[in-house]
């Protein structure tokens, strides 16, 4: 029904475009000067067709369910039901009208369902009538306007500009969406668990919160020693540290080599090849870490008499480091190539070798950019999920031994939220609180890194 109406309106839009243009040609044939190109007359009409339709459709989508619900529930209003019960009745009514109801059907609900269906069909047909009549009215109004040869290009362009502006708000809306989705659950979480326990507690056993009997009232004391995030934070930074131990030396040295030493040919092939590493999906790295690197490290450890967990932090961190190599190498390569040639020439003229020039002149000059690239790498390492989920442990141990397993923020979010979740459960809220801390940490890192890189670019431009 909606689809047919939609197609009909689109067709109407095209026809009004056609009529608008035709009108412009007839005006032209009477030797009057047009105020804009003929197609603008068409666009003008089409916009007058689209805007009212869009407005009515969205208003309808917002208000129809509420009004229908009010009308249905008005039958029950003086029978002393609670709000929750009324909601339940309404849900039952909807399910029955869709034929998906499985419970016991009472005559009351059956009557409501019939009423619901009739209301829906009334709503649908009245929507069609209203939309069509308003569209026709507005198109007629616009047609009259273009007949008197008033301006059409300016309004059309203004409208287009408004559309462009709205699209550019999408980025802000996404950020707002992220903050909103995180903040309410996080606030609810901190109502049950004190912030202090979360930030400084050293025991993380979210499974404990799940065993609770749902009939019991929420008892905050039950959750003490359950949601202490220190082991998680420590594990996150520890694994990120291991990753950076792999990524910084290799990434930085290959960046320097590509920028300063490599011949054009080597650069042409080596650079894209290294960048392939950045294009491989993280789940593939996770599989590689879990299937190959983990058992390999365990074997080596066992042959040296060390007790290595198959899900060691070293395996996850090491593979994550490999993933980050291209980020650091590409960015530092860019940064080093943009150091002005005059600095190099000056150093060579003083008799310095190439490596001395790099170490003493170019590296200090490029340092802010390199630090920025490393910070971006750290932010990636902290936010990386699949490698840790698949290759590192899921139990949160507070340890600094790279051969044991630890867990990270991202892994815990996945562990908690995989499968069905109940909103309102402190365990689910804990995941959102973790997500909030992850978002804040990476946000700070990104802002600092982007600012450092930008400052650096400005310096040499």
């Amino acid at each position: 029904m909606n689809l047919i109406l939609f197609i009909f309106i689109v067709l109407l839009g095209f026809t009004s475009y056609y009529f608008g243009r035709k009108k412009a040609y007839t005006i032209q044939s009477t030797n009057k000067r047009l105020t804009a190109l003929p197609q603008f007359y068409g666009y003008y009409l089409a916009i007058w067709c689209a805007i009212p339709a869009f407005i009515i459709f969205s208003l309808w989508a917002i208000f129809e369910p509420t009004i229908v619900k009010l009308l249905i529930l008005s039958d029950y209003s003086n029978q002393g039901y609670l709000d929750d019960e009324l909601n339940l009745i309404y849900e039952k009514t909807k399910a029955l009208s869709r034929g998906q109801f499985t419970g016991e059907i009472t005559p009351f609900i059956e009557a409501s369902a019939e009423k619901y269906l009739s209301l829906r069909s009334i709503a649908q047909s009245s929507k069609a009538v209203i939309v069509l009549s308003i569209i026709i009215a507005s198109v007629a109004y616009a047609y009259k306007k273009i007949s008197s040869n008033s301006r059409t290009r300016e309004p059309v362009e203004k409208f287009l500009k408004a559309v462009l502006f709205t699209a550019s708000l999408a980025a802000i809306l996404t950020t707002v969406g992220i903050v909103f989705s995180l903040i309410f659950q996080t606030i609810d979480f901190f109502k049950v668990i004190p912030l202090f326990d979360f930030v400084f507690g050293t025991h993380w056993y979210p499974a404990k919160a799940f065993v609770r009997d749902s009939s019991e009232a929420l008892d905050p004391t039950m959750y003490s020693d359950t949601f202490g995030a220190v082991p998680i934070f420590a594990g996150t930074f520890f694994i990120a540290f291991i990753a950076m131990c792999v990524a910084i030396p290799i990434g930085l040295m290959s960046g320097i080599y590509l920028a300063e030493y490599a011949s054009v040919k080597v650069r042409q092939y080596a650079k894209p090849l290294i960048e392939i590493l950045a294009g491989i999906p993280t789940v593939v790295y996770g599989f590689f870490a879990a299937l190959t690197v983990g058992p390999f490290l365990k074997e080596i450890g066992n042959s040296m008499g060390l007790d290595v967990s198959a899900e060691s932090a070293l395996a996850a961190g090491g593979v994550m480091g490999i993933m980050i190599i291209p980020f650091i190498s590409s960015l530092s390569d860019d940064v080093i190539t943009s150091v002005p040639q005059s600095l190099r020439d000056g150093s060579y003229a003083m008799g310095a070798t190439k490596s001395e020039t790099i170490k003493k002149v170019i590296f200090p000059a490029a340092l802010p950019g390199i630090v920025g690239s490393i910070l971006l790498g750290v932010s990636r390492a902290i936010g990386e999920t699949m490698i840790v989920v698949m290759a590192s442990g899921l139990a949160a141990n507070l340890t600094l031994n790279p051969l044991e397993s630890t867990s990270t923020i991202t892994a815990q979010i996945v562990v908690i939220l995989i499968g069905d979740q109940a909103f309102g459960d402190p365990k689910t809220q804990a995941a959102f609180a973790l997500g909030m801390s992850l978002f804040l940490v990476t946000l700070c890192l990104n802002i600092v890194a982007l600012r450092v890189v930008k400052k650096y670019r400005e310096k040499y431009e």
């Binding site: 969406g177 070798t353 939220l417 990104n446």
Partner: protein, 422 residues
Amino acid sequence: MNKNKEQLLNKRYKAEKRFRLYGQSAIFMALLFLTIFIFKIFSTGYSAFQKTWLIVPVTFDAELMMLEQNPSKEDLKDADYYDIALKSMADLDPNANENQENELKRMVSYFFEREIKRELLNDPSLIGKTKDVYLTASDDLDQVFKGNYPRDLPEDQRRVTDYQLKIFDQLVELGKVESKFNLSFFTYPDSREAELAGIASSFMGSIFSILVCLMIAFPVAVLAAIYLEEFAPKNRFTDFIEVNINNLAAVPSIVFGLLGLGILLAVFQLPRSTPLVGGITLSLMTLPTIIIACRASLKAVPPSIREAALAMGASKMQTTMHHTVPLSMPGTLSGTIIGLAQALGETAPLILIGMVAFVNTIPGSPLDPAASLPVQIYIWAESAERGFVEKVSACIMVLLGFLIIMNLFAQIIRHKFEKKWS
């Protein structure tokens, strides 16, 4: 004194050589990782493209199938195939006792009944006759045949029994075991049984999510980029939008998953586990990538083009829409494809919005529950069965294949259609 100088110079030259060597070894290490990685995936995965079949003579006994004289097509469809299927397996060893008959049955997939049925439906004249039918071998025997299963383990640690191995070896000797291209890997949906598991369901899930993602992200991103690059006044608000975009590009993907869960599922009540929600979530992630690419290619269009159009009397909007935007399209499109390739490999946000549910039907629309290729990799990688290891690698090969094709495509668009301004 002179000697000291020479020593110093030698030392400096040596340091120079060492430093160069560090650089070379760093590149070498990075490339080595890549090689090991690809080698490992291919060496474990290539065997999944072959599937082992047992060729078993089946007698289509009308009596056992409960068929009457001259059955219609409907009768054939409703007939009982289980008994003849069971009997033909049991007939492999005439002296088998009841336990062994059970083991014989487990040498093939639980699909064997349907495979026999398909054979008869293709050729109804087979009733009363005996024919060799290809039956899918169980995943353990499949692995044995491919040499991935250690046969020297003690029997109680193996999932194949000695008896099954004995019969299997006899069949191999008779040439009744065949390895053929594994078409079902591409046409079957996911399954709990490794020998029947395919990527069709997750592949369709990926396609649908990417389409939804493209349909939302591309128009919005291009419009936003046009506004920011061509129309936006230089003020605080524009700066704020820009900071937002750059930050969003670096926000961890799992946070977008939380957004999908907290807003799309909880507030808007969109259906769980569907490519629709997955696609919307991915589109939010891809948005900044496309905006940045589109802005870069708009910026690369030389001002002379705009000035020429304006001088001819075109309005600002006409200049942008008729000249600047079409010229920037190659760069925008290749950026879009690269963004979609990233979205195609994304796993974590899809897990959070429930696309990990076990789906054993092929989704027909973005509103059906589905998995996606990377999520399928995750699901199979977490399964304990040996047969899934090669499936994971094969699935990775398919996924990497798609990513390579997309990236090549982006390169071609960029090099073929992009105008070089000099």
